[in-house]
Symmetry: C2
Subunit: 291 residues, 2 copies
């Protein structure tokens, strides 16, 4: 399947979910404004690519799980941008949700995305014993034991300088858990054995780390046009980032090393299962910085 077809399918699933006679049309409008803001959809695409790598013919159910993941990610971005949080006016080159619809609507749009996403997984046409595992893993990756927990650590860390281990712990939770979820979920859906599941999890965690290091580097080096948001914001706020901690060159090496680890994981999967890593390797390569 082509990338654009996967992207359209993910969007179609979310639109159909919210197309069901809405209670409050303005809420749905607010939600879809952020869902359709043109993100890269890295997380859901990774999940679909991984499933195809395992030789799975994609069905609506797989796309529903992928869409649920994207919905939680989108909800977290809306709340991250709020005045009481990062207080950002722009995201992906357009006004943030609270700037466009008001702070109350932005809070509720994020809440809805969090609360709604699980219905998509719960109603997907997959064996119910797989659905409950997918939901438990998603919930743990997103809430107190995952993304939100990491977000709180990140806020607490802003007032002091962190060491590398602390920075990694923050990002392993704040962004790592949801970025590793496609690997975990793909393993659950193909009913991978424990060995394969462990490799998937570890590979996903390395990819999550790489993605964060890359984001920190781009924040220093990219312009507004490239980022779609105000650059250098982290340095201005004196936040602990990989470039601030390691320097720019060392951060680039660290990114390259993390991506190597991902590719090692992919090679191990190819060796120990029927997994074909070509497409995922393309995504990993696209994360490398050149020059």
């Amino acid at each position: 399947m082509k990338q654009v077809e996967r992207l359209n399918w993910i969007e179609k699933v979310i639109l159909e979910f919210y197309g069901e006679k809405p209670v409050a049309p303005r809420l749905v409008e607010t939600i879809l404004y952020s869902v359709q803001a043109g993100g890269k959809r890295l997380r859901p695409l990774l999940l679909l690519e991984l499933l195809e790598g395992f030789g799975v013919t994609l069905t609506e159910a797989h796309v529903q799980v992928a869409a649920a993941l994207e919905m939680i990610h989108t909800g977290s971005l809306i709340h991250d941008d709020l005045p009481a949080m990062d207080n950002d006016d722009y995201r992906r080159g357009q006004l943030t949700s609270h700037k466009k619809f008001g702070e109350d609507m932005a809070i509720l749009a994020g809440d809805s995305l969090f609360l709604d996403s699980y219905a998509l997984v719960a109603m997907a046409e997959l064996p119910s014993q797989i659905r409950v595992k997918l939901i438990a893993a998603l919930s743990k990756a997103a809430g107190t034991f995952g993304m939100v927990g990491g977000q709180v650590l990140d806020m607490e860390g802003e007032s002091r300088s962190l060491n590398l281990t602390e920075l990694q712990t923050i990002h392993a939770h704040k962004t790592g858990k949801l970025l590793a979820y496609p690997f975990v979920a793909a393993g659950l859906m193909v009913e991978a054995d424990n060995t394969i599941q462990a490799i998937l999890q570890e590979t996903g965690e390395w990819l999550g780390l790489a993605f964060q290091v890359r984001d920190d580097i781009l924040d220093v080096t990219a312009s507004f046009e490239e980022l779609g948001k105000t650059p250098n914001k982290d340095l201005v706020a004196d936040k602990s980032t990989y470039p601030a901690l390691l320097g720019l060159e060392e951060s680039k090496s660290y990114l390259a090393m993390s991506l190597d680890k991902v590719e090692e994981g992919l090679a191990a999967l190819e060796e120990q299962s029927a997994f074909q890593a070509d497409k995922i390797r393309e995504i990993v390569e696209s994360l490398r910085l050149h020059g």
Copy 2:
């Protein structure tokens, strides 16, 4: 089982869930501050009472589903109190979450409660085909098609006067869906047939309506000490409430009628199934206003 045992069991399940090595202890502290603020736990108690009414011997799994429901309710209260929403300083006689911990922490505590709750249901020791139905129904009751959708309608209605149908639609979603959930969930857990499930749903919806009318009436008639929050807030804000729309006496009749409908539903359940309604009837009676 005694009421106090049920209350302790619900609290124990939530504490154990958050006892699992926390990523960010401050986040767990913020969450538990609101969870332990001494609410009546009407929703989870209703669920446990209903199950016992069906002759079910309660297990940890039932309490986990009840706890998940209470967690979503608590998260919604934290967000309702935020400055951008109702801007309340007190809830249940203590400082609101954002007053105590800051607005950013309050946003994240609510987010966590929403995201975490589903893991409790997904991991409960119940047949997985029942768990997925419980999760789908909870998600629909809480998010865009339930509580959050109703919250948005409520906000949109503040700028104009509403008729009775509009007011009912708002409350049927904003508070009604989560209050009806114990009835829906009990039916799913005892694998009730469609007829019984329909009576359960309708009875729960009447109870939800009654609860909202009662809340509106108390807001006019009760003092700060009785409510644990600033009274008359709705009238001051010129919000559409049942007393504002129907007058106080008519609202009281409307409450009595709604509670009668609940009791009719309970009688129908007793007639058509092995359900014993005594305990639920006590709860319903406790909602009647005297004098």
